[in-house]
Amino acid sequence: MYKGLVIIFGFLFLGEVLVELFNLPIPGNVVGMILLTFALIFKVVRLEEVEREAELLVKNMSIMFIPPGVGIVLYWGLIKAQALPIFGALIISFFVTIILTAKLVEVLK
């Protein structure tokens, strides 16, 4: 249990350090994920060492979105004022992206 957590938090910390050090515009956790993927590919880390802890976190990710999502209460006025651009873009962009991506991949196969 602790070994898995040490690896996961180690890569998170490493990602944050690199972002800070090189002033990268990417979130530190994404850098940590990329590095951990390569560590697994190059067998620096073995799958069994992190699998259980990582899957526990990934499976329970949904509830972690709720507190940042509730922050929406602070922006009620903004959403009301900009409802048309927000929802217009959300809906049209959804249709355009899903149809064109599927068609293009199918044609270029």
């Binding site: 509830i63 972690m64 873009a89 991506t101």
Partner: protein
């Protein structure tokens, strides 16, 4: 009363999760319903967001290690990447760019503000990564979180039907389009139809998360 935030989040989510287990329909999405319910509780009882976050923060903090942990499903599916590398490359590049650019220009055309523009740009990637990206580029993470979940719900509700209407038959193309557009919620739906489409969709979600977080900061600079 420090523990109010974490208790309220766990309690409300638990209730909606139970409901969703009984009736698996897209409009009973437990995360969205929990966000709405807790927001209403805060408004109704005049509780500030900061007071709520005092302990609820613990849950959102775990997004950091959870995103790092996405490396595990990504690594496990490396065989699929090798098998369909060309389609995946096309799908992620085109789909990832399309999701950003279409949203960007529509918001602009409809007179949206800059903060809305920056908040909506990462809407097609998985919520966990989108929140971090939004923060990095100067958007409003809370608005991004809600827009991402709504985009996922669209995919979950009608994504498969749209792909059928558009007569897309290729299973890899279907999975890629769904994952790139509607991340985890879309993946959860298409995996019920076809296992390969589902696996490709999950992979597309992870890869688009990486792709978008890498290019978005530069793209935003370019577009402005």
């Amino acid at each position: 009363m420090k523990s109010f935030g974490i208790f309220a989040t766990l309690f409300v989510y638990y209730i909606f999760m139970k409901l969703y287990e009984k009736r698996r329909v897209f409009y009973l999405n437990p995360v969205l319903l929990s966000i709405i319910t807790i927001s209403l509780i805060l408004k109704g009882f005049k509780i500030s967001y900061d007071a709520y976050m005092e302990s609820a923060r613990i849950l959102s903090f775990l997004l950091g290690p959870a995103v790092v942990s996405l490396a595990i499903p990504l690594y496990k599916q490396r065989k699929i990447i090798e098998a369909y590398s060309r389609q995946i490359l096309v799908g992620i590049t085109v789909g990832g760019l399309m999701a950003i650019l279409s949203a960007f220009y529509i918001v602009k055309a409809l007179g949206g503000s800059k903060e809305v523009l920056l908040s909506i740009a990462p809407k097609s990637i998985t919520t966990a990564i989108a929140i971090g990206v939004s923060e990095k580029i100067g958007g409003i993470p809370a608005l991004t979180a809600v827009l991402v979940i709504l985009t996922g719900i669209f995919g979950n509700a009608i994504g498969v039907e749209i792909l059928n209407l558009a007569k897309v038959k290729d299973r890899v193309a279907r999975g890629l389009a769904m994952g790139v557009t509607s991340h985890g919620l879309g993946t959860a739906r298409i995996i019920l139809d076809d296992e390969l489409s589902g696996a490709v969709s999950g992979l597309a979600m992870a890869l688009n998360g990486i792709f978008t977080s890498l290019i978005l900061p530069f793209l935003i600079k370019l577009l402005n």
